[in-house]
């Protein structure tokens, strides 16, 4: 073996060792415990094995329901833009679930499967396409207890001008100085701050919705609409550039946080505590007001060392 061979062999050995070092093996962990004393919930958070500082959000809320529905991302293979968005959403959602150690039943489906889905059992259906003729079935499925997730105008078959839900969609003017966050967006540090399209605040409220994202100059980025036994969660726009503030990555992260914290089923105000933790972790104790059917969620907010835990107090 010549000197070139020796050099390449050495390089190959180093790469093999680095490859072994990079096998995913997060060593950090979180424990969340809550004890009820009368009207108070004593919450203990224990973080261990972390090498980096991070921020943890502790969110408590009363929920109408606690469910672990299958999440189905519906795409349209004939529409390359929709397919790309749906695929990206699937990848990021799957990554979020794996990183946070959550068993999320995640599937993809085609739009021609929608009729069966809308006559089927409860689920979270994430809509990246529909054939426009399923409005009534979709509405009835939601009212029976389904959760439908839409992305801007034309994404939900019963939302639009002269339809069951008439929402006002207009270009969303992002202004750093004028943006306001809802309590949910604040607590979960939602990423989607700059969608291309917004929903008029008035039209959200007129249709019985609650803004739960960011608000800027009378436009909303995200809203939750209780409908019968179910929910419609509307992102105001399709994923777009740039990533981080407007893309499928940010919307996937937001959707994950909203679903796993139970915020899509929230009933009333939320309680929120922020913890700044350091390498090596620690133990923290807090008290929260006990409310009926309460879920307490702990979620780390930065992208590294992703922690998640939840406890339900029934």
């Amino acid at each position: 073996m010549g000197k070139l061979g020796m050099a390449v062999a050495s390089m190959a050995c180093v790469l093999l060792l680095l490859g072994v070092a990079l096998i995913p093996s997060p060593g950090y962990d979180i424990e969340l415990q809550a004890d009820v004393h009368g009207n108070t919930a004593s919450v203990t958070v224990r973080i261990s094995g972390n090498d980096h500082a991070n921020t943890l959000s502790l969110v408590g809320a009363s929920l109408n329901e606690v469910r672990n529905d299958t999440m189905i991302i519906v795409s349209d293979d004939d529409n390359r833009t929709m397919l790309g968005e749906a695929t990206s959403m699937f990848d990021h959602m799957q990554a979020e679930a794996q990183l946070r150690g959550v068993a999320l039943d995640l599937k993809m489906a085609q739009i021609d499967e929608l009729p069966a889905l809308f006559y089927g059992e409860n689920a979270i259906i994430v809509m990246f396409g529909h054939d426009g003729e399923m409005g009534e079935a979709a509405q009835q499925w939601v009212e029976r207890g389904g959760v439908l997730v839409g992305f801007g105008p034309h994404s939900i078959p019963f939302v639009g001008e002269n339809m069951i839900m008439d929402l006002d969609f207009s270009p969303y003017e992002f202004s750093e100085d004028d943006i306001e966050s809802s309590s949910v967006a604040d607590a979960l540090a939602l990423d989607t701050v700059a969608p291309r399209v917004g929903m008029g605040t008035d039209s959200v409220l007129e249709n019985g919705g609650e803004p739960i994202g960011y608000s800027c100059l009378g436009m909303e980025s995200l809203a939750l609409f209780p409908m019968g036994e179910g929910r419609l969660l509307m992102f105001s726009a399709h994923p777009s550039t740039p990533i981080l503030t407007s893309g499928a990555d940010s919307m996937a992260s937001d959707l994950f946080r909203l679903v796993m914290s139970g915020m899509i089923w929230k009933n009333g105000e939320i309680q929120h505590i922020t913890i700044q933790y350091v390498p090596g972790g620690g133990v923290w104790q807090f008290e929260m007001s006990r409310v009926a059917d309460m879920r307490i969620t702990a979620i780390s907010l930065e992208k590294w060392e992703t922690l998640f835990a939840a406890v339900d107090l029934n």
Partner: protein
């Protein structure tokens, strides 16, 4: 083999200048759009969830693997929270241009993530020098070294935008050296490692296999042995990458889903007819209901074109043994042909992809001086193409965010002004013009001298220059 060859004093100083320029530019410049997935992958690696943790990094893994030791050292002195920062004031620019991400990485991070590519840049220069020196001696070897080290496009891609194409390119150049030395195991290994940086070296594997199949051998047993060695080298590469293949299915999953991409264009076939191609492909539906989308068609065109050219290039060595200088040149030309086929037919061809072919064009310079025009044209067009997309201001955000030298608002205004501007040369017009020119120059590298557009234009310019200056 001496790592550092004896160079003339002037060449040595110029090489040092090339390295210093890279080191000075690296911390304060970055392509925010391309860098964000690298940043996420960096923090994923450092927090123990692997390269593909958050599903942003969508390449084969070796670039991040080479960056890992540098990043690990960095996190000892810089907290992850200070690797980069959100810059909300960039959102408008990001939305308008589609080529900016409102997140700017810190100078220390920029230097560290670019360290492997700057080192690879220097190694590539030295490899080119050695290979040319062995065949044609000085001054060709020193010229070739400087053509690489002082090439503005190479500096732009590695030190400014921080793209890592020089790494797979280095593997392919080393594979050429190994193949010519009849180290087929080594050649197979280098091609395989190249594939784990970016996919395209796989086509060069087809080329080398074809060469072995058509070359003169005394016995089929000897031919079988060499083919087996090449294949064994490639398998060895798979073994080295086994941690990524065995312990995580994310790599194959994310790479597989990239066929859903919707982007076409750049300096390739699709700069001319994207809408036509898109329309044609939309109509192609097979009886089984399986739909052929444009990116899949483009992938098939690239696969078929590159594989066909690989075999055609290999046919030039039919019946010859791979030993003399002439065959080395044919091997080099084969690399140029295969890479040109990939560049012309892949769905997107960006400036950084020029680094795949530039080393081989430089290696051919002494034998084929006309290649100087293609090198010059690709270098200039590659740099202009990037600038036409978003202006030079787009790479200066680290300077704006982390120093008082430039104001972020001013950078935003430059980019917004460029995109809003009309006049003779709009952003779309400039990009289209450069794309077409780039396509023609790459096509010219495949063609005989009299049809090579860069040579024709270059020589015409040379004559005009001569006439003007007596």
């Amino acid at each position: 083999m001496r790592l550092l060859p004896r160079l003339s004093r002037a060449t040595l100083y110029l090489v040092i200048l090339g390295v210093v320029v890279r080191l000075l530019l690296a911390p304060f410049t970055i392509c925010t759009f391309d860098q964000y997935p690298f940043y996420i992958s960096s923090i994923d690696m450092l927090s123990g969830v692997g390269i593909y943790g958050h599903a942003y990094y969508a390449y084969t893994p070796l670039f991040m693997v080479t960056a890992y030791p540098f990043l690990w050292l960095l996190q000892l002195v810089l907290p992850l929270s200070q690797f980069g920062t959100d810059v909300p004031s960039m959102v408008d620019v990001a939305q308008l241009s589609g080529m900016v991400t409102p997140f700017v990485t810190a100078p220390a991070y920029n230097l560290v993530i670019k360290a492997p590519v700057i080192i690879a840049d220097l190694l590539m220069g030295l490899m080119i020098f050695r290979m040319v020196d062995e065949r044609w001696g000085r001054p060709w070897s020193e010229r070739a070294l400087l053509f690489w080290m002082l090439n503005p496009l190479v500096i732009w891609i590695t030190a400014v935008t921080g793209q890592f194409d020089v790494l797979p390119a280095l593997m392919t150049v080393m594979a050429l050296m190994a193949f010519h030395r009849r180290s087929y195991l080594l050649c197979g290994l280098l091609i395989s490692l190249g594939v784990f940086f970016k996919i395209y070296p796989a086509f060069l594997g087809v080329f080398y296999l074809s060469v072995l199949l058509v070359s003169r051998y005394d016995s089929n047993l000897a031919r079988f042995r060499d083919v087996a060695l090449l294949a064994a080298g490639a398998l060895l590469g798979l073994v080295i990458m086994s941690p990524f293949l065995l312990f995580s299915d994310q790599m194959l999953e994310y790479l597989g889903r990239r066929s859903a991409q919707t982007v076409f264009g750049g300096m390739n076939l699709y700069c001319l007819v994207p809408y036509l191609i898109s329309h044609i492909c939309k109509e192609v539906v097979t009886e089984g209901g399986w739909r052929l989308n444009p990116s899949m068609l483009a992938t098939f065109v690239a696969l078929g074109g590159a594989a066909l050219l690989s075999m055609l290039a290999a046919l030039r060595l039919k019946g010859r043994a791979i030993t003399d200088k002439g065959d080395w040149t044919v091997l080099c030309q084969g690399n140029v042909m295969v890479i040109a086929a990939i560049l012309l037919t892949q769905p997107v061809t960006n400036p950084q992809h020029m680094l795949w072919t530039l080393p081989f064009l430089i290696l051919l310079l002494a034998k084929e001086p006309r290649r100087i025009w293609a090198i010059a044209a690709l270098s200039v067009l590659g740099a202009l193409y990037y600038l036409s997309l978003v202006t030079p201001a787009a790479v200066l955000y680290p300077l704006g965010v982390y120093t008082p030298i430039v104001d972020v608002g001013a950078l935003n205004q430059i980019i917004l002004g460029y995109h809003d501007g009309g006049g003779i040369m709009t952003q779309v017009g400039a990009t289209a013009l450069i794309s077409v020119a780039g396509f023609l120059v790459i096509l010219g590298t495949l063609l005989p001298e009299r049809y090579d557009i860069s040579t024709i234009v270059g020589r015409w310019l040379q004559r005009r220059w001569g006439e003007l200056h007596g």
